[in-house]
Symmetry: C2
Subunit: 145 residues, 2 copies
DNA sequence: GGATTCTAGTTGTATAGTACAACTTGAGCC
DNA sequence: GGCTCAAGTTGTACTATACAACTAGAATCC
């Protein structure tokens, strides 16, 4: 097996390990905010408010799934819906203050966990690793982010 | 924000994107073998047979979860149980021939998907990317693989 | 300008994966 | 032989998810 083939093997294996771990630990780390909820809140912050349908399209989730997630986030007081005055079918979702706070907290603690894991890495390696990941994810597959 | 901090941000974001995608697409790619089942079969192959309890410990899953997964895999004819003659509480799990075949197929198609995604990468970058991932996963976190 | 068709979102129903707790069965140890 | 420990199963519940059917509002088309 060539060096390139063996590297592909390794990348596959390690990415799979990472995915499994992320899935297993996501719920335990932040019982108040599942990985999906966190991602949705994050997207709302970045986008400055968007529709349920946009979230579904962006993350390749069914609209019913998003609808229930959104309902839960609203029940928890983390987001609010504003009826679009132009089109009454549309509900534009926004973070509440509480939502912004929780998102900031979770982001902070997630960031801390990553940083700790990467603490010994020279800056040069961090930058290169980040570039590789971006390149990998930006690849020709599903453009889901 | 320093270059290192911004790289950590990027790594966190891109790893999260990857994990979400893997989770979303795993079921669709191989309807006959979920990501968990695939991982369990893979471990059985690597280890050459082990106990249900070992799988649970290794992947930080509850023994009841593994019990049901194993039952499904047995129902599907992909693994078989052999009673440990030394200790009749213990069932040693082994891949059947059918299990080996399916595992090989799924491994092959997963590998093809990865390879396609990485097809334009120079060998040097593949090798470095693989090394970074290994280093990341080998870090001080949970040693779940 | 009313009927038809499209779109946003909700609700009903089903499934997979998971955890926790209670239980069963066999092993090991005074 | 009778406690205690270990391996695994089963009951129950919850979360995330999808698909399909539905509701309500918007847009379009004679």
């Amino acid at each position: 097996m060539s060096a390139a083939e063996s590297a592909v093997e390794t990348i596959q294996r390690e990415m799979t390990i990472f995915a499994r771990r992320a899935r297993a630990s996501a719920g335990r780390m932040h019982p108040e905010l599942s990985l999906v909820s966190y991602t949705l809140l994050g997207h709302l912050e970045e986008s400055g408010g968007c529709r349920s349908t946009d979230l579904a399209a962006h993350y390749a989730l069914d609209k019913s799934t998003v609808s229930r997630q959104v309902a839960a986030l609203e029940r928890a007081g983390l987001i609010e819906r504003r009826l679009d005055p132009e089109d009454h079918r549309v509900q534009v979702l926004h973070l509440t203050e509480a939502g912004q706070e929780i998102l900031a907290q979770v982001t902070h603690s997630r960031r801390a966990a990553f940083r700790e894991r990467l603490t010994d890495w020279p800056e040069e390696d961090l930058v290169r690793f980040a570039a590789y990941l971006e390149r990998y994810n930006a690849g020709p597959g599903d453009a889901s982010d």
